[in-house]
């Protein structure tokens, strides 16, 4: 693999990771902590939204995030022909 191609691969990899980490930060630290009180104004069946993110919601997003990451990386690996 040429150094240029390796560099392009790494760049795409980093940008995918950063996007996913942004979502990771928003669903946990954002919705579950920083903006918890604002989100708590919204209530569904007695459950405040900010509370739900901190106690359950963030975890569901975490699981989805990892599987999106697996899929994204597989596509990038295939594109650059570096899969195993």
């Amino acid at each position: 693999m040429s150094p240029e191609k390796a560099q392009a691969y790494w760049k795409e990899n980093i940008s995918a990771i950063l996007k996913l980490l942004a979502v990771w930060f928003i669903v946990s630290f954002g919705c579950g902590i920083i903006f918890m009180e604002q989100l708590n104004a919204i209530e569904i069946a007695g459950v405040k939204l900010g509370f739900w993110f901190a106690h359950q919601g963030a975890m569901y997003f975490f699981v989805i995030l990892i599987f999106v990451y697996v899929k994204t990386m597989k596509n990038i690996d295939d594109k650059y022909g570096v899969h195993e």
Binding site: S28, F29, G46, F51, H55, F62, I66
Partner: protein, 622 residues
């Protein structure tokens, strides 16, 4: 069948299963012993990781902790799961591509330095021993509570079981035992949770139960909360009436933020979790395996949050203003006429997890904010009060200013352990909880012991002590290294058992300790090793030492040497200080590396190779 026989039966069957697996999965090579031969299926690895990860504390204590913390308890739920996202995205695939056996392997090779390797070995051993001490204690406690044997005998039985399958089978043995242990653990946790959810909210899935409405009216001591109230509304009202902060009302968001960060970074940096991703065949498998691990963990963790809410409602409903004597004798009923049998109260009072101090002498239990007495219950021998309660010798606290004076002492652990009895579930469910709690403690203890033994035999002996100066290779043969690994595992079990029998008096703080140190020592150094090609050994060593010494010093000063809370740095609790340690580590490592020469070309090439998945091959020896 009688409860005690059922417990022996369930625990006995599960132990026989673990030993059977150990005999089947005997390790034949160092590769088997350290990384289970590198051929574990990603789903099996995910399950094993979940069992490895969820400790006695997760199983027994976490629901109770959250039950009493309310909203802020989300820090534990998000922190202990969100770390897997970091692990999957930033560490696991690259470490798998690197393809060695241990965390010190990576640190030593990437930073081309035996010093870095030795520092990493010391940190691994320290973090893992603090953690394993708590597990062995947990094994002892479960034995003593459920099997009526002495705590110390319990620890020794636990040691014998772990000895058998980890020394014989190594990583290969524990991986497949952990798969079985996960199954035992999750069934034991879910069944009582589902029953509880049905009872409290008439909802099958505990995760949806918090959206449900109460199936009963109950008296919180100030007012009657009607049937059909949304669960969390009922809980908010009840705890507020008793003088607590509302259940869903956040406390200090700043400390919640820092604790969440520290737990996430610690999760991603714990050596016994990282090493699990060396056991799968490919880089792709390492990524997907982290996802499976998180699914298996989330099944339990999303349940924990609901169990916490249900059991707090149940506690208030069952004990508030009830006549002690009639309650424990099973003569009382709830408002709706269903029986309120308090025999569980007597059982766990005997075990020291709950206590009643009849301050106003009215013969009824009052529960509210404040302490029933100072500290943990110090029972006055077997002496009983006029109503038959165990008497305590503790000093009394100052009277609180609320409407009700609290008379109840409740240990966190009771929220899980007593649930089946409170909910009137059949005896086999209680037996299942005993087997589940043991599975949780043993699986984590075994994972930690393998990491300790590998750090000693592979890294310290193989790569430092018996290193050939000319070739740079280990002079140990495969066979003798495997023997050393087994000897190291035996010694580690002995020390863990000793710590379990003579706990250093800070088991409760161990969590903060292990996570803070793992966060500050490992996470940054591994991440920089992958993402910053310019990072060199000078930066790495100073970084690790800064993170370790700062975090260690802060926790020791404030937790063990009685430092004053008023002196907290920016008001940060010792539990969240790992976050600051990690930041210091990153800053110091970056600055020092830029002031010293770049790493040699072959190391830069190594980093390039780690970044690309193709050609991962097997986990290989040096």
């Amino acid at each position: 069948m009688e409860l005690q026989s059922l417990i022996y039966l369930f625990v006995g069957i599960s132990f026989a299963l673990y030993i059977g697996i150990a005999l089947w999965a005997k390790a034949g090579s160092t590769k088997d012993f350290y990384v289970a031969g590198g051929g574990v299926h990603p789903v099996a690895n995910g399950m094993a990781t979940a069992a490895d990860w969820m400790s006695a504390a997760s199983f027994i204590s976490l629901a109770g902790i959250i039950s009493f913390m309310g909203s802020d308890g989300g820090a534990y739920l998000m922190g202990w799961t969100g770390g897997y996202v970091l692990l999957a995205l930033l560490l696991a695939p690259y470490l798998r591509k690197f393809g060695k056996f241990t965390v010190p392997d990576f640190v030593g090779d990437r930073y081309y330095s035996s010093t870095a390797r030795v520092v990493a070995v010391i940190a691994v051993i320290f973090v893992s021993f603090t953690y394993v001490a708590g597990q062995m204690r947990g094994v002892g406690i479960v034995f003593s509570r459920f099997l009526q044997v002495d705590v110390n005998t319990g620890v020794i039985i636990g040691m014998a079981i772990v000895f058998f399958y980890s020394v014989l089978g190594g990583m290969k043995g524990i991986t497949y035992t952990q798969v079985a242990q996960y199954v035992v653990m999750i069934i034991a946790y879910l069944i009582p949770a589902i029953f509880l959810s049905l009872q409290v909210t008439d909802t099958f899935l505990p995760q949806l139960g918090i959206f449900g409405q109460t199936t009963f009216a109950f008296d919180d001591g100030v007012r009657v909360i009607p049937e059909g109230t949304y669960l969390l509304h009922a809980l908010d009202t009840a705890v507020a009436d008793l003088g607590f902060r509302e259940y869903t009302e956040p406390g200090s968001l700043w400390n919640m933020f820092l604790l969440t960060v520290a737990l996430m970074l610690g999760t991603a940096g714990l050596p016994h979790v990282i090493v699990r991703f060396f056991t799968v065949p490919t880089v792709h498998d390492a990524r997907i395996s982290a996802g499976w691990a998180l699914i298996f963990i989330a099944i339990m963790y999303t349940t924990i949050s609901s169990v916490a809410a249900f059991s707090r409602v149940n506690l208030i409903k069952n004990v508030q203003n009830v006549e002690y004597k009639a309650f424990v004798n099973g003569e009382l009923s709830h408002i709706d006429g269903t029986p309120n049998n308090g025999s569980w109260f007597k059982t766990w009072e005997t075990g020291g997890l709950i206590a009643w101090n009849d301050k106003n002498g009215d013969g009824k239990i009052q529960y509210s904010k404040g302490d029933a007495f100072k500290g943990k219950p110090a029972f006055d021998g077997t002496n009983l009060g006029v109503n038959g309660e165990r008497l305590t010798k503790n000093a009394l606290p100052l009277a609180n200013t609320g409407k009700i004076e609290n008379e109840l002492y409740v240990d966190n652990d009771i929220m899980v352990l007593a649930n089946p009895e409170i909910a009137n579930l059949p005896n086999w469910v209680i037996a299942l909880i005993a087997a589940g709690a043991l599975a949780a403690a043993l699986s984590t203890a075994a994972g930690l012991l393998i990491v300790i033994s590998a750090a000693i035999s592979h890294d310290l002996l193989g790569q430092v002590v018996f290193r050939d100066k000319e070739t740079g290779k280990s002079t140990l043969t495969e066979k003798s290294e495997l023997m050393w690994a087994r000897i190291a595992a035996v010694v580690a079990i002995m020390i863990a058992g000793y710590l379990g029998i003579n706990p250093p008096g800070f088991v409760a703080q161990v969590v903060a300790f292990a996570f803070g140190l793992a966060a500050a020592a490992f996470f940054p150094t591994i991440m920089l090793g992958i993402f910053d090609k310019r990072m060199n050994k000078e930066g790495a060593i100073t970084g690790i030492l800064t993170g370790l010494i700062f975090t260690f010093g802060y926790i020791v000063y404030f937790v063990f040497l009685g430092g004053d809370k008023a002196d907290y740095f920016l008001g940060i609790n010792p539990t969240g200080i790992g976050t600051v340690g990690t930041i210091l580590h990153l800053v110091v490592a970056f600055v020092v590396s830029r002031m010293t020469p770049p790493p040699p070309q072959e190391i830069q090439d190594l980093v390039e190779r780690i970044r690309i998945p193709s050609g991962a091959g097997d986990a290989h020896d040096h």
